[in-house]
């Protein structure tokens, strides 16, 4: 039994080394390592897919690494990319602080490294940032919600994981807008950790309390869809304005079907493309802007067909 296991282990190890070699084949094109925080939702898969496509268009080989939401894994992946002599590294940090050793490793090897989607705590160690401006996205979402419900009203907010960068920045945007509209207040707030099922349960419990809500403001589309389902189950989907952020495929489909009222697009596919364009310039030794924000756009049934989904 042990011998069999050892043989299987050796086989798997050999196979993984082989596949790594073949995947890294770039036929002499410059190589970019794209180190994603995870590859488990439409947002990250869209960013990565668009980046790879843009690489093909520009004659660059983009290899995607999946850090599985673990900061230590991400650092190891950056270190391997440095060791393998990649020409440039794009990273979506799992953690703002935790990415520091990875930035240092790339700096020491003088390989250009840029952050995408989320800035690092030591952003000055990176050549550039490419991504959305979460505070601006939060501002835009809350402004549009207040436009829809009026100057007097109550909102319930579904947050991402408490303390995560996206949660804090989008909330900062909300707070800034709410400060300008004293008639609108947050009456209920809870985290649902970006998760549809969790948002569904929390919203069910909110509705159960009988508290009057004019709008549910979710920090991403997955949670907005969970909230919408709870409202649909209670036949109250027409009374409450539901919105999200990210413009994921399922969120956009819901807007088309008259479910969600709106979502903020930060041009997900555009982030992937702009990241590769920027890295292309860095590899060629051109200067780039330190911060490259994609534009936040409010998507509703009226303009949903103009949206670029990166397909």
């Amino acid at each position: 039994m042990q011998r069999v296991l050892a043989a299987v282990g050796a086989l798997i190890a050999a196979a993984s080394i082989l596949s790594a070699c073949t995947l890294g084949a770039s036929d002499g094109r410059p190589r970019i390592a794209l180190v994603m925080s995870h590859m488990t939702n439409s947002f990250t898969t869209t960013v990565a897919g668009a980046a790879v496509q843009e690489g093909d268009r520009l004659g660059l080989a983009v290899t995607v690494f999946d850090a599985k939401s673990d900061a230590a894994t991400q650092i190891s992946q950056i270190e391997s990319a440095v060791a393998q002599g990649y020409d440039g590294i794009l990273v979506e940090p799992v953690s703002k602080e935790g990415i520091a050793p990875g930035l240092k490793a790339a700096n020491e090897a003088e390989i250009p490294i840029a952050t995408i989607v989320q800035q690092a705590e030591q952003q000055d160690r990176a050549a550039a940032y490419i991504g959305g401006d979460d505070t601006a996205a939060g501002r835009l979402q809350m402004e549009k919600v207040i436009e829809a419900i009026g100057e007097e009203g109550t909102v319930a907010v579904l947050y991402g994981p408490m303390g995560s960068d996206g949660q804090l920045q989008r909330k900062a945007g909300y707070d800034a807008v709410l400060a300008e509209h004293p008639g609108v207040s947050i009456v209920l707030e809870q985290t649902a950790n970006w998760d549809t099922a969790e948002a569904l349960t929390v919203t069910e419990n909110w509705l159960s309390t009988g508290t009057h809500i004019d709008a549910i403001v979710a920090q991403n589309d997955s949670m907005a869809l969970g909230a919408l389902k709870a409202l649909t189950n209670a036949s109250r989907q027409d009374e409450v304005h539901v919105s999200g952020v990210d413009a994921t495929d399922d969120g956009v489909a819901s807007i088309r079907n008259g479910g969600m009222a709106g979502t903020v697009s930060q041009d997900t596919a555009g982030i992937g493309r702009l990241a590769v364009d920027t890295m292309d310039k860095l590899i060629k030794g051109e200067t780039v802007e330190a911060v490259n924000f994609t534009e936040a756009v409010w998507i509703t049934a009226d303009n949903v067909d103009t949206l670029d989904t990166g397909d």
């Binding site: 039994m1 590859m39 488990t40 939702n41 439409s42 990250t44 898969t45 408490m162 209920l188 809870q190 985290t191 998760d195 549809t196 099922a197 569904l200 349960t201 929390v202 069910e204 419990n205 909110w206 159960s208 309390t209 009988g210 997955s222 869809l225 969970g226 389902k229 189950n233 994921t248 495929d249 399922d250 489909a253």
Partner: protein, 319 residues
């Protein structure tokens, strides 16, 4: 042998203790909730709905833990089964039975794999199911392309959201599965063998129980029920997310432990596990109603788990 069974069946001080803790929790939440809303009919039905998935998962986990094993893979199975179900549930493609059966088959297969690894590979169940937990989650992500599968038919949506009058069908599933599991454990030869295998596998083998086959069967039951939970979750959220069910195995284990099932196997009751699952749902629902931070909910849940095990140890010392 019979003495072991009798002891397993007897209601101990501690089972009553769990019930008392649960009732005390309900009483407190009823008193502090605005307008005593906590025990309104609607909210009680809601608690049943919110207990269903974890409760059914915990029933499967109960069989495994009574056999002296553990199953960490059920959360990942929910993810894979949900993705498979959602893929087969697009409007106008297949009758609604197809995604449901497919998800059950997926669950049973994962369970079978776990059972064979544990019983015939002689690998500790913690290791086997840790492996399948990781591999099955990977499979869910591969099959779905790393994004939720949406656009399911209305019949599929109704599978979890339908109501019989005011009574949610989710709660019917929970109660039926609970009654079947309780009956199987208490009143059948098979159930008695599960206790025997967990209590003393050597004695069970000597008295003619096929220990290996019994172990495979409990993992299949856990997998099958996890597959069913996968359908329920996909139907409830009208999407099959590859990340769905993450860490659900921990809540299921928590419900089993709170419910007084011994982690060393051989002892426990389905009614206790149901109370354990209700307790977890009640904490979340009650604290949501009171507008208390979710992080605090974790703290309360953790304290209750440890307190339950502490009760368990104390009760055993008295015997």
């Amino acid at each position: 042998m019979n003495a072991v069974i009798r002891r397993a069946k007897a209601w101990s001080v501690r089972d009553a203790g769990i019930l008392l803790v649960f009732l005390a929790l309900v009483l407190v939440l009823w008193l502090v909730s605005p307008e005593h809303h906590f025990l309104s009919v609607n909210n009680v039905l809601l608690i049943l709905v919110q207990t269903t998935i974890n409760g059914i998962l915990a029933m499967g986990m109960m069989f495994v833990i009574i056999s002296g094993e553990i199953d960490l893979s059920v959360g990942s199975t929910i993810g894979l089964a949900g993705v498979v179900a959602a893929m087969l549930a697009h409007p106008g493609e297949y009758p609604v039975i197809v995604p449901i059966v497919a998800a059950l088959v997926v669950g049973a297969l994962v369970g079978l794999l776990n059972g064979i690894g544990v019983a015939y590979g002689a690998i500790p169940s913690f290791i086997v199911t840790l492996g399948t937990m990781t591999a099955v989650r990977g499979l869910a992500l591969i099959v779905s392309g790393g994004a939720p599968i949406f656009n399911v038919s209305e019949t599929f949506e109704a599978f979890a959201s339908a109501r019989i009058g005011r009574f949610p069908v989710m709660a019917v599933y929970l109660l039926v599965i609970f009654l079947v599991c309780a009956f199987v454990l208490r009143r059948t030869v098979y159930g008695r063998r599960v206790y025997a295998v967990g209590g003393n596998p050597v004695a069970a083998e000597v008295s003619g129980v096929n220990v290996r086959r019994s172990k495979v069967s409990v993992f299949v039951i856990a997998g099958l029920l996890a597959g069913f939970c996968g359908v329920l979750l996909a139907s409830r959220t009208i999407s099959g997310a590859p990340t769905a069910g993450e860490s659900y195995e921990l809540d299921a284990i928590a419900a089993v432990v709170i419910g007084g099932v011994s982690m060393s196997g051989g002892r426990g009751r389905a009614s206790g596990v149901l109370i354990g699952a209700l307790m977890i749902a009640v904490i979340a629902n009650g604290l949501d109603i009171l507008g208390i931070d979710a992080n605090f909910q974790r703290l309360v849940k953790g304290v209750i788990i440890v307190a339950a095990v502490l009760l368990d140890v104390k009760a055993r010392q008295r015997r």
